[in-house]
């Protein structure tokens, strides 16, 4: 399972960077979305994937049985998803406003502040 996920994560990073290098600002945002998802999947994979062993402590026991899923990376990913959602929502509104003001979705026409 992990090698497959590694390829998926790598593919997502590559696709994200490809999309961000395009000139269209819509594709730029799609690239950012892919990038944040790639990072989330990577946390998930790096912390270890196990099937069908929820981290539950049996009645009377003090610690869960060995080999259960680690709940912490899931909490981390959940936090990261929420943050990424908020930030990306902002980015979508930003490119919409930028499109209204600049009247183009082409990054090459947004160079007036560059040096």
């Amino acid at each position: 399972m992990e090698p497959l996920m590694a390829y998926v994560v790598g593919g997502l990073y590559a696709a994200a960077i490809y999309m961000m290098l395009r000139r269209s600002i819509v594709k730029l945002v799609i690239g950012l979305i892919l990038l944040s998802n790639a990072a989330n999947l990577l946390i998930f994979t790096a912390a270890g994937l196990v099937r069908g062993t929820p981290p539950l402590i049996a009645e009377g026991a003090q610690v869960p049985p060995p080999g259960v899923a680690d709940p912490l990376p899931q909490a981390l990913v959940l936090t990261a998803i929420v943050i990424a959602f908020g930030v990306l929502a902002f980015a979508v509104v930003l490119i919409h406003r930028a499109y209204e003001i600049v009247k183009a979705d082409d990054l090459d026409q947004m160079k007036s502040t560059d040096t």
């Binding site: 961000m20 730029l28 990038l35 944040s36 990577l42 981390l76 930030v87 930028a98 007036s112």
Partner: protein, 502 residues
């Protein structure tokens, strides 16, 4: 539970929420901004004295013991940075009273300012790398909104680059955190320092990869070469008070994170990391100062100088001796004070003349001699002229480099100082010295209730600090030296967080 550690985070959060509650009242928001940032400054002073007297302070959140729960840690580096944040925030808030247009204030300038400060102080004080990521996002989203407040075309164009590059930086940071957790199963900085120090030899390569990911992520935030292009493209677009706060504070968060990570956590492959930091810092200062020399817009020159000065701080970290790091810390503080002040001066000159272009400015020395004096103090301090703050910062740093026999780097650092003086002289000659040009633009109309003296007050205060840091150079140096020794001996931090025998 130590209240003084939590206060610098709680105060801005509280005042931010309160400012939202009085959304309709512009007057109340303005007063809350001054009171809130003043309280932040006071709590920063309290925290610094408490840390100085009692050593590193630690608070566990929810009483979950380290390394399992999130801890807030205040060592001298963190406390100094919080004090700096309070100082910058207070001066920016007073300046905003006179400089911020009603349109900006009505659309939530002050609540965003408080949220930004909460994120900055949280990043300075947390002892947990995932929590650091969360605070970074808090300050980023506030800075995004501050950057586009006003909605002009240049702001939108600058913001797209700023937002994109910062989101990439966050994704890289998150990737690095995920790999760290996968490798050692911990997120607590002190615990990571222990675990990486006695990690197996087979993992050394992976640890170096993770260190590089962190370096890229923080390097983007600090605007180090070759990751700085977003800064000159965006920092001159928002209102001056925002630019000043960003230049003084936000890049320093990246610098702080570099200092924290590469003195505490990633110390095993030191030679490679030091080489990258030293040469990255050196090239940063050269490229930044050359960019500044090529520009003729007041704020763009200042933005490029920010890049250049970041190079000194990264160089100091790369040298990694207590003396050099003490120099880097003085430099960080001095640069925030001086650079914010120069942006403030550019705001006053805009109010008097209605333009930021040096070619259209002129005659300011005749029209406002005191402003010229205040500009000169900050500009000469930036260039490192004794007896101002910049001289001692540069002196300690160069001395540290010479002790380690880095002759070439030292020479470049001194030459960059000379070039800094050159572009400061350019601003002086063009904006202050020469006669006002014939076809100068008319100054913008002043909104009622924005007296000019409120813009001068923070400028005078920060200029006084720049002078005092020079006059009381020894006290500043001793404090920085103590902080550098705490950074150098990472056991102090580890024992404060994890107890005597981790």
């Amino acid at each position: 539970m130590r209240p003084e550690i939590a206060l610098p985070i709680l105060i801005p959060l509280f005042f931010g929420a309160l400012s939202l509650a009085v959304w309709r009242s512009r007057l109340a928001q303005r007063w809350l901004a001054v009171i809130g940032t003043g309280a932040l400054l006071a709590s920063g002073i309290w925290l610094l004295f408490a840390t100085l007297n009692q050593g590193p302070l630690v608070t566990t959140l929810g009483d979950w013991q380290a390394p399992f729960g999130i801890v807030l840690v205040s060592d001298l580096l963190g406390a100094i940075m919080v004090l700096l944040a309070g100082l910058m925030a207070f001066s920016a808030a007073v300046y905003s009273l006179a400089a911020m247009g009603e349109g900006h204030e009505r659309f939530g300038y002050y609540p965003l300012l408080h949220m930004l400060l909460a994120g900055v102080c949280g990043a300075f004080l947390t002892g947990d790398i995932f929590n650091l990521f969360v605070w970074f996002e808090v300050l980023l989203i506030a800075s995004f909104a501050l950057l586009i407040l006003g909605g002009e075309r240049a702001q939108m164009e600058g913001a797209i680059k700023y937002v994109t590059i910062n989101l990439i930086s966050s994704a890289v940071l998150l990737t690095a955190i995920g790999l760290v957790y996968g490798l050692v199963g911990s997120l607590n900085m002190a615990d990571l320092a222990v675990k990486f120090a006695d990690a197996d030899a087979e993992h050394t390569g992976l640890i170096t990869v993770i260190a590089m990911l962190f370096m890229i992520s923080f390097g983007i935030k600090a605007a180090a070469f070759p990751l700085f292009f977003w800064l000159p493209a965006s920092y001159h677009t928002p209102p001056v008070a925002v630019s000043a706060l960003f230049a003084g504070l936000l890049t320093k968060v990246g610098v702080y994170a570099l200092y924290r990570f590469f003195t505490l956590i990633f110390t095993q492959d030191a030679e490679l990391i030091q080489t990258i930091l030293i040469w990255g810092g050196t090239i940063t200062m050269v490229v930044g100062v050359l960019g500044a020399a090529a520009h003729f817009e007041f704020r763009r020159i200042l933005a490029f100088h920010s890049v250049s000065q970041i190079g000194y701080m990264i160089l100091a970290l790369g040298l990694m001796s207590p003396l050099a790091i003490a120099g880097g810390l003085i430099y960080t503080f001095h640069h925030s004070v001086v650079k914010t002040n120069l942006f403030f001066v550019s705001g006053v000159s805009y109010r008097l003349r209605g333009t930021h272009e040096l070619k259209e400015l002129g005659g300011l020395y005749r029209a406002a001699p005191w402003l010229s004096l205040l500009f000169l103090i900050s500009a000469l301090s930036l260039a490192g002229i004794p007896p101002l703050s910049g001289f001692f910062a540069k002196f300690v740093l160069v001395r540290g480099a010479l002790d380690l026999q880095f002759w070439v780097v030292t020479g470049i650092a001194l030459a960059v100082g000379l070039l800094t003086l050159f572009s400061m002289t350019k601003i002086w000659a063009e904006a202050f010295w020469k006669a006002a040009p014939e076809n100068a633009p008319t100054p913008p109309p002043v909104e009622p209730g924005q007296p000019l003296y409120l813009m001068y007050l923070p400028i005078i205060g920060l200029a006084a600090i720049a002078v005092l840091m020079g006059i009381f150079g020894e006290a500043v140096f001793e404090l920085a030296m103590l902080a550098a020794e705490q950074l150098e001996d990472s056991r102090i931090y580890i024992e404060a967080v994890l107890g005597e025998n981790p």
